[in-house]
């Protein structure tokens, strides 16, 4: 435990828990703040939360695995959210998903081995007028076609200074 705890800043976890008043009811909010900080949920943080809130570890685990928003896998530098809401679906987003999965050689919900990209399907990004649409961080790219989506990946790779080809 001590070794694992060294991997993350436990003090920061404590500060997040303190902010919520160590209330078991605030568990979901605490996990969200942890994920905002690390972009995933590090396991040592989870056991620490269980200890601090005085609840069984399996309760924390149940919540983490129930809610779609939580991930135990570190997200990539570019976290790509593909909108798979109904409006984007009828406008053909399935083909964009396929193209990005093929290009990045990962399935949605995962991160490339080099840690550059992660793909996620979001149920609705609320930019239906631009569909099919993806968001990379705060940046939105709309009216996508297969080739436009692939150009965005190229662009992001250039930004990163990484040429994987």
């Amino acid at each position: 435990m001590a070794i694992l705890a060294n991997e993350i800043d436990i003090d920061l976890v404590d500060r997040i828990i303190d902010r919520s008043g160590s209330d078991p009811e605030a568990l979901i909010g605490i996990l969200q703040d942890i994920q905002t900080e690390w972009h995933y949920l590090p396991l040592p943080a989870l056991s620490h939360i269980a200890d601090r809130l005085g609840i069984p570890y399996n309760r924390v685990w149940a919540v983490v695995t129930f809610y779609e928003a939580f991930t135990l896998e570190p997200l990539g530098k570019y976290h790509i959210q593909i909108c798979t809401g109904t409006a984007c679906h009828v406008r053909g987003v399935a083909e964009i998903v396929r193209a990005l999965e093929d290009e990045l050689m990962i399935e949605t919900g995962h991160t490339t081995p080099d840690g550059e990209f992660s793909l996620e399907c979001a149920h609705c990004l609320g930019a239906c007028s631009m569909g099919p649409v993806i968001a990379v961080g705060d940046e939105f790219f709309g009216h996508l076609t297969r080739s436009k989506a692939l150009e965005i990946i190229e662009e992001l790779r250039k930004r990163s200074g990484v040429d994987l080809k």
Binding site: F66, A87, R91, T145
Partner: protein, 615 residues
Amino acid sequence: MKITSPAKLRDTRNDLSGRQAEFSLTVTVCGGTGCRSSKSLAVFNAFNKELAKRGLSDSVRLIMSGCHGLCEKGPNVLIEPGSIYYCRVKPEWANEIVESTIQKGELIEKYMLIGLKTKESAGNQNGSQVHPYQVREILKNNGKIDPLDIGDYITHGGYESLSKALFELSPENVIEEIKKSRLRGRGGGGFPTGRKWESCRKIQADSKWVICNADEGDPGAFMDRSVLEGNPHVVIEGMIIGAYAVGAHGGRVYVRNEYPLAVHNLTVAIEQARKWGFIGENILGSGFNFDIRINRGGGAFVCGESTALMASLEGKPGEPRAKYIHTVEHGYRDEPTVLNNVETWANVPGIVLYGADKFRELGTEGSPGTKIFSLVGKINNSRLVEIPMGTTLRRLVEDIGGGVPNKKKVKAVQTGGPSGGCLPESLFDLQVDFDALTEAGSMMGSGGIIVMDEDTCMVDVAHYFIKFLVSESCGKCTPCREGLKEMDRILGKITKGEGESGDLNYLEELGEWMKAGSLCALGSSAPNPVLSTLNYFRDEYMMHIADNKCPAGVCKNLIEYHVIEKNCTGCTLCAKVCPTGAASGVTKQPHSIDTVLCIKCDECYKACKFEAIGK
């Protein structure tokens, strides 16, 4: 600066209105999610810079508002007075707009919305040109006020309704008025709000709760988000009035964490409301205490269900429980709880202030008032609309939405979210209200309307919703968990061309079984997408099974791309966009597609301007 009495509220309003009158013009940049994603923040900054440069910052008020509703044309900029509406505004235009329109009072026609291109027709923003056929009651201040400024809300009559409720009406009077208005829950179920409140009022308890359900999980729906982002105080005011009516002192807003702007605007609004004395101890000097806390959701669709939402508020997995224990008696923390959604709460201040009779002037007998819809999908004008209940689907799709793009034929609309249903074009004269939609085999849901055209495969759409529900079912009860998986399997088979003759009857049988046996509304309405498409589009299912054909050209296993030679001009566009080199040919000669190389990505079909690609 606490407001401690109704008189002080009126004084403050007069004072604020006076200060706003000092501005000669107001420029409102739309800050809804749609416009933000088309970079309206840059437009706002450009105007800010331009106004400062010309020394106009003190005479022209610049605000970033909530969603104006014209998402397709964003980023939108509204200039008042005069209701001059500029669309698809680019930051580079700020210079010209400030110089011509703001300084010289001239319209720049090329930037205006079609139909608004003369000064005479510019008219009122609430009038017929920008929002034809709409009646904007809930959204009337969206686009007018700065959601981060409580003063703006107060200037527009905000918290007057609360003042009336606290000082002129008893809690029973408030409930009576809500009952008389026949307001029904806008979250989907359509349960009479007044009855819910009355049941909760009657229960004796030390602690009661009011909850706002802002876990808008339907894909393609952004009504609640737009209200929270654009006018958070109207929801807060509704909740305080509701709390007063039922005797609650604690409030919770359960909002999607995926809505960062809504969370932010609501957080700021609650802080301001507390600072000004609208929530907290001794509200407006009335002796009534009430406070609100925000909880961010974990991204589970099932948490839209009231008991699941309450479990989630308690920090547990969002699993629903049996319905016979009523939440008005045993809800959040096992205490009496009233839960309504964002739009329902937003309706409350208007009903209390102007009366139930006024509210009932709009809408139908069984579903009075207006309803906000997000109109999206295969439609020319994706937008947020507010219409009186009883407006026909045809008016929505054709007159308000501007019909389907690219001269395609409209095929259906889907209402009610993932567990709603698909209604065919032949039913477009249906008057939209709670009962009419349910009768037609769909439901109101929270108000997402997704338009589909002839290129949409109804089997694929049904499969899409079922796949969504498979991943969102909490797994607690068997009919929903296993029924959905089985439906997913059968629909997968059909879309792959492996369907068998008994499949459709089996799907219907499964659907009835899920409706009857599921624990919560998510499970019992889950078969709706399948049952409604089977009801209205059975032929399309049959073509998949019997003929191995997908008439809409969506199901990959059942289509093969080919060039229709008589239409092909040899423009080479298909060859250019084809990622695998399957489409090829000589310039000005009919092209061809190599079916071995073809990955069926649909790029050539979308690119071709001569309808020369068949599938």
